[in-house]
Amino acid sequence: MTAPFFELGYVGPRGGLAAALIIGIAFGWCLESAGMGSARKLAGQFYLTDLTVFKVMFSAIVTAMLGLFWLGRIGILDLSRVYVPETYLVPQLAGGLIFGVGFALGGLCPGTSCVAAATGRLDGVALVLGMWSGVLATGLLFPLLANFYETTPRGSLTLPQVTGLPYGVVTLAIVLVAVAGFRGAEWLESRPRPPAAPVPNDVRKPGRALEGVAL
């Protein structure tokens, strides 16, 4: 086993922070390249007109999942030293539903809002500030939520453990579901649909809004 480097001591604390910056830059680059810094594009996911979010997310999940599986299988990566987020069933279900409400209204998630803000989208800046305030307020009120936050703990529970199926079988099943999903996404995007919504005013009339101040 030669990885994870940080866990095995090949990379120190400073090296870890350098890795954070480099990995972050690559992360932001990928998101921006795919158009994930655009709230209008992301919102299309929820009206089934633009399924970029699904395609990018599931291509990424499948790639990383297969990489983990094979690097573990050939003995390069010690999977027992990779941190698996712990499961808390009810808080994660409730948190997910609440998160989804904001996702549809805002058209951005925490990571993509940082890309939107960094590329000049003022709605991204507003969403970052709102998000930060929301986390701050929830954190300040945390003593009230602490009991709920800790309910239904299941530890680092994985799908193979729950289903009793081998790791490889679950991995393959998710690949197949993703491929079926990609075919469905292409079909949805190719449907004939009513005339597209008019171009927003800020694109058409640069004087009226802030669009057009190209950098």
């Binding site: 994870p4 390069i76 997910g96 950098l215």
Partner: protein, 172 residues
Amino acid sequence: MRRAKSRPYANPYLAGVALGVVLLAAFVVMGRGLGASGAFASSAAGVVSAAAPARAQANPYFARYLGGEGPWLDWLLIEIAGVAIGGFVSALIAGRLRVAVERGPRLSAGARLTSASVAGAVMGLGAVLARGCTSGQALTGGALLSVGSWLFMIAAFAGAYLTAPIVRRAWQ
């Protein structure tokens, strides 16, 4: 003032595979995945700690960010600084940097800024309860086959699809 000539976005599958490789690199180098909402939490902890140190230490949610290198050198905060840099450089090269308020055709810029702030605050609450967001749970935990992460992902998309018809005016 000129309209920049912007290049089209990358193929979503190609960008997704590249993102998956970045996520895999995080697992291999650090033994952990990507994240975003954690950066908001650590910086909030940093501000509370600066304003009211005793209060921050007494709060179990903020206190966890105050050990080690402190909240301002938190791994996810540095990573998110990288995300902003990477997004900026990518948009710069592709001619996609633009000061604008992205919004639906029927929404004023002011209404969009207000709704984006509210949406952010709602996601902040959800991400705290769920212990992460689309990056730390859906992408990272999804690739690790974490049950809670898949539950979060399904719940988040369910919440979004249930909300979308109600907020249709914002986007269509």
